[in-house]
């Protein structure tokens, strides 16, 4: 008997929620960024589980493109963090509030 697809969905739900909790509680911009990567990976796991279960390649192709987007996001996001640090000498997201009303 094989592992049911619902087990993978449950695992990815747990990982996603851990990522959400990290984004909401952590104050370091880079750690928040890493928590977002964790959430992206949780969704990738869901897509691959469904892809393997249904025998369809579409889910895995979608994960491939999600990885490319994640790489682009990492490059631009970290460049923004560096630019922020250069201007404000901090990456604590509580101190970066110029766009807040």
């Amino acid at each position: 008997m094989s592992v049911p697809v619902a087990y993978y969905l449950g695992l990815s739900a747990i990982l996603f929620v851990i990522g959400v909790a990290g984004v909401l509680t952590r104050r370091n911009a880079i750690v928040v960024f890493m928590c977002i990567e964790l959430m992206l990976n949780a969704v990738n796991l869901t897509l691959i589980a469904f892809s393997a279960s249904l025998g369809s390649i579409t889910g895995q192709a979608l994960v491939f493109f999600a990885m490319a987007v994640a790489a682009a996001e990492a490059a631009v996001g970290l460049a923004i963090v560096i630019a922020l640090f250069r201007n404000k000498q901090t990456v604590n997201i509580d101190d970066i509030n110029v766009l807040k009303w």
């Binding site: 959400v20 370091n28 750690v31 990976n41 990492a74």
Partner: protein
């Protein structure tokens, strides 16, 4: 309990543990290392699901390229531990944990409702065929050719954007602040 179940539960436990440790660590470098461990666990799960190419890409692209970039930026900015004020239990932290737990219960209820043990198996009949390099290559250069090519534009835009954002402005061009 077959071997597949044992491997799944072992890797799943390792993935959840490393994810929790990543969120709970105060030091950003340790967070990054636990996240890399988490990516390796996910690569093992992809292998269990017969997604060989994506398992390799997970290790090479995520654990290799992206996390090296993250660790490099952490080292470059020379960040210390997060401020001690972040550790004390404030209202925002409690709200965050409550919201996360509510989301988790909701998601698990949704999945448990779809017949947990009688549901379809995670590895279908022809799963080993589609996840190979050959299967993925046929899909990427056939059905998904246009998105595949557009991805190159996205990466080019990201490269240019990263360079423009991270470049130090020359003194003559500095905007008055």
């Amino acid at each position: 309990m077959t071997l597949e179940f044992l491997i799944f539960f072992f890797v799943a436990a390792a993935a959840v543990t490393t994810a929790l440790l990543m969120v709970l660590q105060r030091n950003p470098v340790m967070s990054a290392i636990y996240l890399i461990a988490n990516f390796f666990c996910l690569a093992a799960l992809y292998l269990l699901l017969h997604a060989q190419l994506l398992a390799v890409l997970q290790v090479v692209v995520y654990a290799g390229a992206i996390m090296v970039l993250v660790v490099f930026v952490i080292m470059l900015l020379n960040l210390g531990d997060e401020r001690a004020a972040a550790t004390r239990l404030n209202l925002r932290g409690i709200v965050a944990v409550v919201v996360s737990c509510a989301l988790l219960v909701e998601l698990l209820y949704l999945f448990a409702g779809s017949a947990l043990d009688n549901g379809p198996p995670a590895v279908g009949a022809d799963a080993s065929r589609i996840g190979s390099v050959e299967g993925m290559g046929e899909a990427l250069f056939g059905k998904f050719l246009l998105p595949f090519e557009v991805t190159s534009l996205l990466l080019l835009a990201a490269i240019i954007g990263a360079v423009v954002l991270a470049r130090r402005e020359p003194d003559g061009l500095r905007r008055p602040s």
